[in-house]
Amino acid sequence: MHVTDTQLTQASNWPDVVGICETYANDPHRMLDILRAIQDRYRHISQEAMEVVARQTGLSKIAVEGVASFYAFLSSDPKGRITIRLCDDIVDRFAGLTEIVEAFESELGIRMDETSPDGTFSLEYTPCIGMCDQAPAAMVNDVILTHLTPEKVREIVARLKSGERPEDLISHRFDELSPRERADRMVDGNIRHAGAVLLGPVPEDAGLKASLNLTPAQIIDTVEASGLRGCGGAGFSAGRKWRFAAETDAERRFIICNADEGEPGTFKDRVLLTERPHLLVEGMTIAARAVGAREGIIYLRGEYVYLRELIEEVLADRRERGLLGDRILGEDGFDFDIRLQMGAGAYVCGEEGALISSCEGLPGEPKTRPPYPVTRGYLGFPTVVNNVETLCHVARILDRGSKWFFGMGTEGSHGTKLFSVSGDCRNPGVYELPYGHSVAELLEMAGGEEAAAVLVGGPSGTMIARDTFDRKLTFDDLATGGAIVVFSRERNILEIVEYYMSFFVHESCGYCTPCRVGNVFLQKAVGKFRKGLANQADIEYLRDLSATIIETSRCGLGMTSPNPILSTLENFPLVYSAMVKPSKDRTRATFDIQSAISDARHLAKRRSYIFDRDFGE
């Protein structure tokens, strides 16, 4: 490439950017880390910085820009030194988000999506940050604040304005605290029910030690025999996934832990990452031994950046103790190490293909399947992507045996599952239960007996009504990655549906037109129902368009995004039919001519000679 003088000058003007790129060996696959570091350093990624990054990594500038513009936590406009991101989940809205927004706006003197003129504060919304059990919540740079009230907001802003760091809001001794103490001070654990597998007492590395006595094939057999299915939502047999990866001939293999817990209403991985990080790494190490992987990645969602140090510390500790790195536990040829990859605010990266793209330094766009990641994944090598909870289960299964795990739960859904319960209930938090409990039983434990509706599995799951609360939490009945959101009778079902559609509109990666455009149309159509402007045909329209989006999208986002609509049409049909306006004389009562001509009336400065009755009088 021809390098001009101006470009050279630019590089020398941006020594830090060059330095950041060099920290990551100018590796284009580490683009997300590079851009995150630049964002942290400069509070934005300027065009010039992108040019320098492009040259350092040998990519085109447009490729760098493609990544920088994809992720919500990266921005091309300068953000304030202190960026306040308010969690805009429906649970936060019902918990008083409006008052929190008003308090921040009036105290800071800026509106949402603005940056203060002195460049100190930025205020913005962000989708669910995994704190639904302690809403309303916010991120202030890398610090999490929960249980916000307008009074707290006033105090927070006053302290930040007086020059305190966001970290000081947590503790004046923040720098002296251990990573675990920091996490605990920011976020409540809220473990409400500990089950036998994960949240009860767990011996250290017993599973890993047991795995040393087994051949890789035996480990896979054990996991497969336990009946363990993926806990992220899809429920694919973990053992079979490993077997595919192990059987594929390749020079390198990878184990990736999916800690991109983005489904609104889910926060069980947050609890595991805080309470059981060693168990997770133990599970990954066992998986590595089983499939013959030497390299692993933990993909941590950007919103959980407050857990980064905690996980880094765990990894360092395990390296020191010979539990990670070369010759694990003294076993020749058992080499495995893990790097932590931070996400940057993109729900779609929870999809395994998109997650791999993101790890490769690309925009988080899903990949076309097949080939599946188990045969061609990260950098083209066989890759096992498992959820945090799945990997934790693995470590326990190796310790206690497959029969023990298989014996819990129900036919087809073995073992225990973590449920993140939030919304209108007295005891929001995490419940570890064997599969097979009914929604009603879980509601009773959580103090949500009065619920009018429960969303099982987050917006891409199923919304059920009181008459079906006896349905079972299993893969065969109500499958869930763990999110259980409870709504009381005061809540407006259509408001909830419209919110979740806006979430999918925001989070669609934009690759497939039916998902990018179709979800916008669905959201608009739900809006018509809310305004009382829908007619009978609109119900059919919702169904038709939903079917098209599901059928023609290439990843799970588009295949499930119409679910809030489809499951409420199915389980709350009266909510929709109550809002339908029938036609009169076969002309649509839903078409409002007065509002349709009001703009033109104003522009033309005259009245209608057809529809203004008093015209000419």
């Binding site: 045909a537 036609s583 004389d585 076969r586 002309t587 649509r588 839903t590 078409f591 001519i593 509002s595 349709a596 001509i597 009001s598 703009d599 033109a600 009336r601 522009l603 033309a604 400065k605 005259r606 209608s608 000679y609 057809i610 529809f611």
Partner: protein, 189 residues
């Protein structure tokens, strides 16, 4: 010998280009056959401006871009047993609905008119005004498909539909045998 009463047909072009009415004439000599079965009431083809009788079939070209379109369409709905939308403009707004794409503006209608009459690069408008004669109907905020304003019974797709499709649809409707379109007939790629 008693002759069957002829079916009455009315037609109108709303926010369309009259192309669909032209396509009606693409029926060619079959028009003579058709005329044995029908007579035209209100229509630009007859220059009859108001309904003289209730009609069996109303044919609508174009969507609704102004208040007069809405008025005419409602009048058709009230005076016709069966209402047929003909062409993409009637079905979904068509080309005129491109102005609906001006959505990230506080005043989309003003922005549209200003570009069309004043600021557009190829405009030679010596008055520098947006036409505002009192006889001009007020524009709607958006261009609407006919089915958003009234219930439509049938749609004949195409831009414009072919004479064949129009003839076959009308004649099978008149014979009470319309069972939908053959796929090849409404395939345009």
């Amino acid at each position: 010998m008693t002759e069957l009463p002829k079916a009455r047909i009315a037609t109108a072009s709303l926010a369309g280009c009259f192309g669909c009415h032209m396509a009606l004439l693409d029926i060619d000599e079959r028009l003579i056959e058709l005329m044995k079965l029908v007579e035209f009431d209100r229509s630009p083809l007859t220059d009859i401006k108001t309904f003289s009788h209730r009609c069996d079939i109303g044919i609508i070209e174009g969507g609704c871009c102004n208040e007069e379109n809405v008025h005419v369409l409602r009048d058709f709905r009230r005076n016709c047993d069966i209402l047929i939308g003909i062409g993409q403009c009637a079905i979904m707004g068509g080309l005129p609905a491109m102005r609906n794409a001006i959505m990230h503006s506080d005043e989309p209608l003003r922005e549209c008119l200003e570009e069309a009459f004043i600021t557009g690069r190829y405009i030679r408008n010596t008055t520098h005004n947006i036409p505002n004669d009192p006889a001009l109907p007020l524009l709607l905020d958006e261009v609407y498909a006919c089915s958003e304003v009234v219930e439509m019974d049938y749609h004949i797709p195409g831009c414009a539909p072919t004479g064949d499709v129009i003839y076959e649809t009308l004649s099978s409707l008149l014979a009470g045998k319309f069972r939908g379109f053959e796929k090849e007939k409404i395939r345009f790629d």
